[in-house]
């Protein structure tokens, strides 16, 4: 075992007297010592657990600085604190790990955490509204009444003044035109260049 840096003891004595600069130097100097010691003591622990034990040791060192006797070496004092207080932190970490699931191990693409499972629905609705607006007036009126307002053919006929037969034809043609506009001619089942501009009689 190599002899410890004599400055550690000097800095700790200065820290007991309230020297903040030396205390900062001391804590910075012991940080790699603590990380190395923690990794050696708990080789199975992950990085977060090691860092937790290191920080717990630093806090305990701060609380226990009145206990340090300058007649004794500093590193055994520091590692003694890590053994007990860092060990407490490690036990807490393991207990928490046994009953909790770290949130960052859940796949980012999981659907379990999503509240809006159809995020494109709004876009499709807007496209549909735009396509309906492009329909000839007769077909647009028939679609609005029978599909959007969900009226019966008789009610739609009474509202629009169109006959039931004319409503059926206009709705059929309107739907076919919408399908072509939304899905393309191939998907819609025919090579049609654009919306059907034949209005219902």
């Amino acid at each position: 075992m190599t002899a410890e840096d004599p400055r550690l003891r000097e800095w700790m004595v200065a820290a007991q007297q309230g020297d903040r600069l030396r205390y900062g130097q001391l804590l910075t100097a012991v940080l790699p010592i603590l990380r190395r010691a923690a990794r050696a003591r708990w080789p199975q622990a992950d990085g977060a657990a090691i860092e937790d034990a290191v920080q717990e040791t630093l806090l305990a060192l701060h609380a226990a600085r009145r206990l340090y006797d300058p007649a004794r070496p500093f590193v055994p004092f520091l590692l003694g604190i890590m053994r007990f207080r860092g060990g407490d932190a490690m036990r807490r970490y393991r207990r928490a790990g046994a009953r909790e699931t770290p949130i960052d191990t859940i796949p980012e693409t999981t659907g379990a955490l999503m509240t809006n499972t159809t995020p494109d629905a709004g876009l499709e609705a807007a496209s549909l509204r735009a396509a309906i607006a492009r329909l000839p007036s007769g077909q647009r009126r028939a679609i609005e009444l029978t599909k959007l307002a969900e009226l019966s053919l008789e009610e739609a006929s009474a509202t629009s003044g169109m006959t039931v037969a004319a409503l059926k034809v206009a709705t059929h043609r309107g739907l076919r035109a919408l399908r072509r506009m939304m899905l393309g001619p191939e998907m819609a089942g025919g090579a049609v260049k654009g919306p059907d501009h034949h209005d219902a009689p």
């Binding site: 977060a48 206990l67 003694g80």
Partner: protein, 225 residues
């Protein structure tokens, strides 16, 4: 408390920025001296308050009385020293076992007395009687030593608090039992073994169970001494 990696440097800055001077704690041997300076007069005062036993002069001539008494005193001293060491992180574990040697001597002395009684008086020497005075007498004799230990340990309880309390309880109870020998006339060795050592064991375990709450000060924010 959990800090994600990378925040340790910030924690160091916070701790350093909140540093205040502290008064260094004396070594365990010095604190043992403080404890004895308070506890021995207190235990002696309890013995004198109850009145010294009438056969004390005769008993002082027996080596067995001296050995058992010295073993009880040594147990108290070693246990108090172990309690002060237990609370320090850089003290080795073997020091926590120091009281076991005089405790074994104490037990051995009393056990030997039991065997002597068995060989001379037969099984009749083991007639068990109740001696309810032991527990409160030892508790009373050990009260000031225990209170002094709580005060001294409260200034130092950093680690191994339960071990420190167990050793501290043993120290106070052993000192109370040592004082008890000066004013209480035991009937038979077996009674001493059961009632006195039983009381010591009970008080020690009790101290280990509840002492932690007495000696551990609540966690303080960085920056407070």
């Amino acid at each position: 408390m959990m800090h994600p990696e990378g925040q340790t440097e910030r924690l160091i800055a916070e701790l350093a920025g909140a540093l205040v001077p502290v008064r260094r704690l004396p070594p365990p041997a010095v604190r043992l001296g403080y404890w004895l300076a308070v506890s021995l007069p207190a235990a002696a005062a309890v013995a004198f308050a109850f009145g010294l036993r009438p056969d004390l002069a005769a008993r002082l001539g027996e080596s067995g009385f001296w050995i058992a008494g010295a073993a009880a005193m040594l147990t108290a001293v070693a246990a108090a020293y172990a309690a002060f060491c237990a609370a320090l992180p850089d003290q080795p574990d073997w020091k926590l076992w120091l009281p076991l040697a005089p405790l074994a001597l104490w037990l051995g002395t009393l056990g030997r007395q039991c065997l002597l009684v068995l060989s001379t008086a037969g099984a009749g020497g083991f007639a068990l009687t109740t001696d309810f005075m032991c527990l409160p007498a030892i508790a009373l004799g050990g009260f000031v030593p225990a209170a002094a230990l709580v005060v001294l340990l409260r200034r130092s309880a950093g680690v191994r608090a339960t071990n420190a309390c167990l050793c501290g309880g043993l120290a106070a109870a052993a000192l109370g039992a040592a004082a008890l020998r000066l004013y209480h006339r035991e009937d038979a060795a077996i009674m001493v073994l059961i009632w006195q050592l039983g009381s010591v064991a009970l008080l020690s375990v009790l101290a280990a169970a509840v002492g932690r709450t007495l000696v551990e000060r609540p966690a303080r924010r960085p920056g407070t001494a």
